[in-house]
């Protein structure tokens, strides 16, 4: 059910600025998607819309809504807290413009785990 919902949502965003031209750049998912794939994919995490990743060379034309993601394991010794931020940023800052990826089902729990691992390594 969740899956269907997500597919429908993905179809609905054809016109979105958040996705334009991105689809062409994202390689067709051959095997299993990595955390980085999900974070970069404009129809999934699209983290680069808002965050720079100074230590990742191919993180290009990044937006500035949020702070750069760097030295994350030092800043989030507790990985669960990092995951919680990604799952629902509004829990920590009600005015946050960050998308509540878990709470609103934008990413699956498994996808959030992978993204958390990826971001933790930045």
């Amino acid at each position: 059910m969740r899956k269907l919902h997500q597919v429908a949502a993905a179809c609905a965003i054809g016109a979105a600025v958040l996705t334009t031209s991105a689809l062409a750049q994202t390689p067709a998912p051959k095997k299993e998607e990595t955390g980085k794939d999900i974070a970069f994919n404009r129809t999934k995490g699209n983290c680069l819309a808002c965050h720079g990743m100074p230590t990742v060379p191919d993180a290009e034309s990044t937006g500035l809504y949020g702070p750069p993601l760097i030295a994350m394991s030092a800043r989030y010794p507790d990985k669960a807290k990092l995951r919680a931020q990604i799952w629902d940023a509004t829990a920590f800052n009600p005015a946050s413009s960050m998308i509540p990826f878990g709470k609103h089902g934008v990413l699956t729990e498994q996808e959030i785990d992978k993204v958390t691992d990826f971001v933790y390594g930045l």
Binding site: A9, A12, I13, A15, A16, V17, L18, L48, A49, C50, S61, T62, G63, L64, Y65, P67, I70, A71, R75, T90, N93, P94, A95, S96, S97, I99, P100, H104, G105, V106
Partner: protein, 281 residues
């Protein structure tokens, strides 16, 4: 880094009232407008209020220069010309739009949307044009239709170039419509959980990917726009695009929700000069 995060959160907090629409509840429209202006000008003291009519271009000199060059020889002239023909062609009964709109249809676009006490609702310029058509025995145009309203208003609004936006909110019913529009503007929506304010207040002047975000003040004065040079987009069709972007179901064009949103949103541009039919990326 921690420092920077805290600074960022604090910066977010100063705008919290307006970003959440809390501090501004039950303010007069003029107070709201002033508060928006205060918020933007505190953040960007070097950008003149008059330049807000250029939207995101006001924040980027290179794009503004490109815009100026394109505006010298607009690629959409033929569409405005179509609109001029429509405007000048009499109805079957021999009357024209100029006969039935206030002031011959000149210097009036900045008064719309207006609240019509008799009808008890907000009337957009498109609505006024349709009223004119039906009163003269013509069929109403479809709201937001590019090939009719689009062309016609692209020309008709140029007759109001230079007029200052002048949205009036008087009386309790008008105020209720205004408040409803304001609520839509500040309410988070869609799977991605954005309010209009999340982008056009909190993040005005900030990049989302490589896209600079425009402030809401100055948003309503220059419609329709021609995106990419010749793709005509009306104001409510732009709203529709922004709703879809956050994976929300857009209200229908010309619905009460959309018209009230346009009413509130337009009043934020009060005092700024109209300039119809401009280029946008």
């Amino acid at each position: 880094m921690k420092q920077q995060t805290i600074a960022k959160l604090l910066a977010g907090l100063t705008g919290l009232g307006i970003a959440l629409g809390v501090a501004t509840a039950h303010a007069t429209p003029e107070q709201d407008r002033q508060e928006f202006i205060k918020y933007y000008t505190a953040k960007y003291p070097n950008i003149k209020l008059d330049d807000y009519v250029y939207g995101a271009l006001a924040f980027d000199a290179d794009s503004k220069a490109q815009y100026d060059a394109i505006m010298e020889f607009p690629p959409y002239e033929s569409q405005i010309e179509k609109g001029r023909k429509m405007w000048e062609t009499p109805f079957k009964n021999g009357k024209t739009y100029a006969d039935c709109l206030p002031n011959g249809g000149k210097q009036i676009a900045g008064n719309y949307p207006m609240f019509d006490e008799a009808k008890g609702k907000v009337v957009t310029l498109e609505n006024a044009i349709n009223d004119c058509r039906t009163a003269n025995g013509e069929e109403a145009f479809k709201p937001g239709d590019k090939n009719t309203f689009g062309f016609l208003t692209a020309y008709m609004r140029t007759l109001s170039d230079g007029m200052l936006m002048n949205i009036k909110v008087e009386g309790p019913k008008a105020m209720a419509a205004y408040e409803d529009g304001k609520k839509t503007f500040f309410a988070r929506k869609g799977q991605l959980n954005f309010a209009c304010a999340s982008c056009h207040v909190q993040n005005a002047g900030v990049r989302l990917r490589s896209e600079l975000i425009s402030p809401a003040v100055g948003h309503a004065v220059h419609w329709p726009v021609f995106r990419g040079g010749d793709n005509l987009v009306t104001l409510q069709n732009r709203y529709t695009g922004c709703f879809k972007q956050v994976r929300a179901v857009p209200p229908a064009v010309n619905s009460v929700t959309m018209n009230n949103l346009e009413y509130f949103h337009s009043s934020l541009s009060n005092g700024l000069p109209m300039k119809a039919s401009v280029f946008r990326k």
